[in-house]
Amino acid sequence: MSKVRVLVGTRKGAFILTADGKREKWDVSGPHFAGWEIYHLKGSSADPNRLYASQTSGWFGQVIQRSSDGGKAWETPGGGLTAMPDGMPSGESNKFVYNASAENGKPLTTHQWYDGTQHPWEFKRVWHLEPSLTDPDVVYAGVEDAALFRSTDGAQTWHELSGLRGHGSGPRWQPGAGGMCLHTILLDPNHPDRIFIAISAAGAFRTDDAGKTWKPINRGLKSNTIPDGTAEVGHCVHRIAMHRSRPDVLFMQKHWDVMRSDNGGESWQEISGNLPTDFGFPIDVHSHEPETVYVVPIKSDSEHYPPDGKLRVYRSKTGGNEWEALTKGLPQSNCYVNVLRDAMAVDSLDSCGVYFGTTGGQVYASPDAGENWAPIVRDLPAVLSVEVQTLQ
């Protein structure tokens, strides 16, 4: 019988929630890495027992954790007590060093700072880990300050795909309130060399040559938070989602506005339609219906909670513009939590499950595509990320 494994990153550790295909009774494991911020953890689709986790701390910096048994045991890749064959100690899985080589992608040394001056790139943390679709030892990391790294040895060592920072627009990238983070990595299942990424606040970018060169894909975005609202870069993209069967169609939750592209990001059009507010963070797509999209509207950029104190997931079955509120089982009064950009996911069971976590520590699940919701857990630390694995 199928099972689901929900991977939850929180401000104070990771939790793993498991259930059978009915998704009624849940086992809760955790906290793993207690006391640490777990920005993201995700499993490999090539080997579901291979998990990667980003463990961070303001005191101790970045740690990468890896599991090969579905989250029962964890290790810092290459960080054990055994020296490498050359006699040097291992343990470089948390070493993220920006590429400063002259021959590689015109590496940039500065980006725009909050006061408009230029500021050097400084690694702070890994926001998102995206395992390869085909090789469990290949994994991408989106980091703050914004850059994309790749490991081909199971996260033991990391190398920057510096063509992204070398694109030339880097001096116009700027941090949002949460930092200048690369938070979205989408791998195109049809074109192995095509990757989409998104940065707050720079915008969306695409490579068609496995990360050597990149182009900004922000035409059609309009942002009143930058002087030229239709500029090539500078947009605060919060999240992008795609359906695996149709990777040229992208859905975006921007700082304000929900957007759609039908041409791999070449151009975007707004699909906010009848949403009560088009501010929000996560966006996701039904696992079997490529035109069914989910968002969680948030009141505004200065009031990060649901409008009217009602926690509502909105679903469009028409690829946008026409949205319906999904409320059954969700609090409809006095609810002032937020749902962060990486904190929504779907499973791939016949009846698509939808999951999201809140800054109030609840993880809600709907086993029927959003019709009915129930909390799996309700008193975790603030939830930073939610991912789901469907296991056979």
Binding site: S57, F60, G61, G78, G79, A83, G91, E92, K95
Partner: protein
């Protein structure tokens, strides 16, 4: 044998239950102590000082013999009591709420 007290989170990361005891080649300095720790426990690399610059992470402090040595040169000799193992070298996480 040098004695080192690590913050709880780093003890967990390194699978250390208690005080760390480690051999350090003379001269005993902050740098040589940290080099020895990182060689023995590679999972701690980058968590106490930067991988590349070797600068102390800003929210950590180094205490010894009731003195804050955080701003001393990493190559300055540590007190004799540390070098002899009579007193431990403390790596302390700054107090912060939340």
């Amino acid at each position: 044998m040098i004695r080192v007290i690590l913050p709880a989170h780093l003890r967990t990361l390194a699978h250390i239950d208690d005080e760390l005891k480690i051999d350090v080649n003379a001269p005993v300095t902050q740098r040589s102590v940290l080099d020895a720790i990182e060689e023995r426990y590679p999972m701690l690399r980058g968590t106490i000082r930067d991988h590349v610059t070797k600068q102390r992470r800003p929210f950590l402090r180094f205490f010894a013999c009731e003195e804050d040595l955080s701003h001393e040169s990493p190559d300055a000799p540590l007190p004799d009591a540390i070098a002899s193992g009579a007193e431990p070298f403390f790596i302390i996480g700054a107090i912060a709420g939340g």
